[in-house]
Amino acid sequence: DTAVSQTPKYLVTQMGNDKSIKCEQNLGHDTMYWYKQDSKKFLKIMFSYNNKELIINETVPNRFSPKSPDKAHLNLHINSLELGDSAVYFCASSQDLRVADTQYFGPGTRLTVL
């Protein structure tokens, strides 16, 4: 069973479009995250949610809107996609607000904006 799953794995779209990436975890964790990894492999946190509540919101354009319908799901919606949004987006989850060694990453979604 996949612990943290994301869909889709690949997403190719045109500039200006709106797209969503879905994430689900079956670990019973309370906290979920979105990270962005650019072409140089630099991994940076975007958001974290704990029990559906937004905890961390880094300096991310407001075109990015996370939504957590329940604590097992954290989706990422992106409006008006730009070329610079091309990256791999990783979802992750951890037992609680303490990240540490309980954080598991999903397989990533490679987003390409043309």
């Binding site: 990783f90 607000l97 540490a100 598991y104 990533g108």
Partner: protein, 113 residues
């Protein structure tokens, strides 16, 4: 702003060599330092270090933290081609009731035959 710097950026070694990867950091409210291995997909957890001077070891990999000098090293002995990957260092910092990870840019290790 929290900062994590890894060196070298990339490294090519022959199978059987020993390598040392470096990670230095400047973080407010330090909690722990973590090492990850990233091959083609998601980062996978290797070690978490919280105390200075205590070596964590797993097979041919080991790591140690120096909280006074604000750095950590990851050693890999008798390298194998399967060790080829990007190694990421991350520092966990407290943000009140929560914490967050700040990652370095990674060291790309290539092990050749």
């Amino acid at each position: 702003e929290d900062k994590v710097v890894q060196s070298p950026l990339s490294l090519v070694v022959h199978e059987g060599d020993t390598v040392t990867l470096n990670c230095s950091y400047e973080v407010t409210n330090f909690r722990s330092l973590l090492w990850y291995k990233q091959e083609k997909k998601a980062p996978t957890f290797l070690f978490m270090l919280t105390s200075s001077g205590i070596e964590k070891k797993s097979g041919r990999l080991s790591s140690i933290l120096d909280k006074k000098e604000l750095f950590s090293i990851l050693n890999i002995t008798a390298t194998q081609t399967g060790d080829s990957a990007v190694y990421l260092c991350a520092v966990e910092a407290s943000t009140g009731t929560a914490s967050k990870l700040t990652f370095g840019t990674g060291t790309r290790l290539q092990v050749t035959l």
